[in-house]
Symmetry: C2
Subunit: 251 residues, 2 copies
């Protein structure tokens, strides 16, 4: 479907989306290089190589796929809403599966190595993010994909769902940064302060994740990039205008 | 000036603002207790007690005061815009002074103890936040308090200023969480995993900071809590409607 936005807005938007994908993929690649090259690769046997799946799955699932699942509402803002909703739900499902694999990997590694669980700030923030992400996904499924709630309830829940989605993306990125710091201080305590290449690479990964989050936040919240009102969908969809005084965006 | 919003919206808003202040002050108090009780108090002599000023100043300046400086646009949304702008700038100035004291304290401590600087992800994120915060403050001063720029430039810069303000608050909170993790892993490595009271207190501080950020984010971005349009100010102020297609908020 033809984009109704003026050409300069479309062009800037396309560049920003492209940049966000480069940053997101770069974060996944840097995590893979860190764990694959510096930390001995991957396995599923309770060893440190099983732990290595944890950062990779979390960056891929809770950050990159989670961010892209939100972004589809902006990228495909002129496509039929039902298709975009379905894509949003499917990418979130992939994100959820990756996150659960990452979650199991770290607890399996801790159990095998008799390492205590859930005492660090990273584990508290990460667990809160994953639990809330699961709740958000189930609620989204019930309210919007298989609407069991009334139109009024869906309309009331929509702005909360949108706000929580962005908060959870930020929390996921924050938890990753805490995990990076924790892993470096556990693994390369003596050489980190001498700017060991592993430490610099992991720090750069952290900065790339922050940039990905800022760019996604900009693309998601900028008024011009929101889904334009579509009169044909008005009777079927939930519309922000009915919720907020003078608001103009649809989701 | 009388608030034009309906009574239930005013009431929920007041409770949420109250809760944000409780969380913000709680974060400052918890940081004070952590540094004062567990880490030996405060001094200005290059010792570990001088370092202890760093977390306290950063939580007070870059998080609590920074958040409140943004919040004044919502709390005093029916007061004359000039007064609110002035208050916004003054609280930000206090935040900047506190942050610079905190910044000097940690570098002074590192110099005295011959501890390397700027190698951790916390230091990279924290430095980026502080530098961008300084730039944001100077730009805000030039554009809005002593307007040296044209109306068109001010109007173009306003949404960027607003977006960056919220991003910097999130980055400040993220940097604090990284600092908490770093400090705990440097100081109580052996007892952290046994849920030592210091570790639990610092983790709770981290969660309180996250909750403060989420609540501030909600209060700042919610459409109903934005400054209502004021025809008397229209000719003097920058109005979002001229910037974004169909937007309704003023700043």
């Amino acid at each position: 479907m033809e984009d109704s936005a003026p050409r300069p807005i479309r062009s800037v938007f396309a560049w920003l989306v492209g940049a966000s994908q480069v940053l997101g993929l770069l974060a996944v690649v840097l995590t893979g290089v860190w764990m694959g090259h510096y930390r001995g690769g991957f396995a599923w046997d309770g060893s440190a190589q099983e732990f290595n799946l944890h950062p990779l799955c979390m960056v891929l699932g809770l950050v990159f796929l989670h961010g892209d699942a939100i972004l589809v509402y902006r990228v495909f803002r002129n496509e039929p809403k039902r298709n975009v909703k379905l894509l949003h739900g499917i990418i979130h499902l992939l994100a959820l599966i990756m996150s659960i694999i990452g979650f199991v990997a770290v607890f399996d590694f801790h159990r095998a190595g008799k390492i205590p669980d859930m005492y660090t700030l990273h584990s508290w923030c990460g667990m809160a993010t994953l639990v809330l992400f699961c709740i958000q996904w189930v609620m989204g499924l019930m309210f919007f994909l298989f609407p069991v709630a009334s139109s009024w309830l869906r309309a009331s829940y929509l702005p909360i769902h949108v706000f929580c989605g962005l908060v959870l993306l930020v929390m996921a990125i924050g938890s990753c940064l805490l995990g990076i710091t924790e892993k470096l201080l556990f693994s390369i305590t003596s050489t980190y302060s001498q700017f060991a290449s592993e430490g610099v690479l992991a720090n750069i990964l952290g900065i790339v994740l922050v940039c990905f989050g800022v760019l996604l936040g900009y693309l998601i919240t900028k008024e011009e990039y929101r889904r334009p009102p579509n009169p044909e969908e008005e009777s079927l969809s939930v519309h922000f205008k009915t919720l907020t005084e003078g608001g103009s965006s649809t989701f």
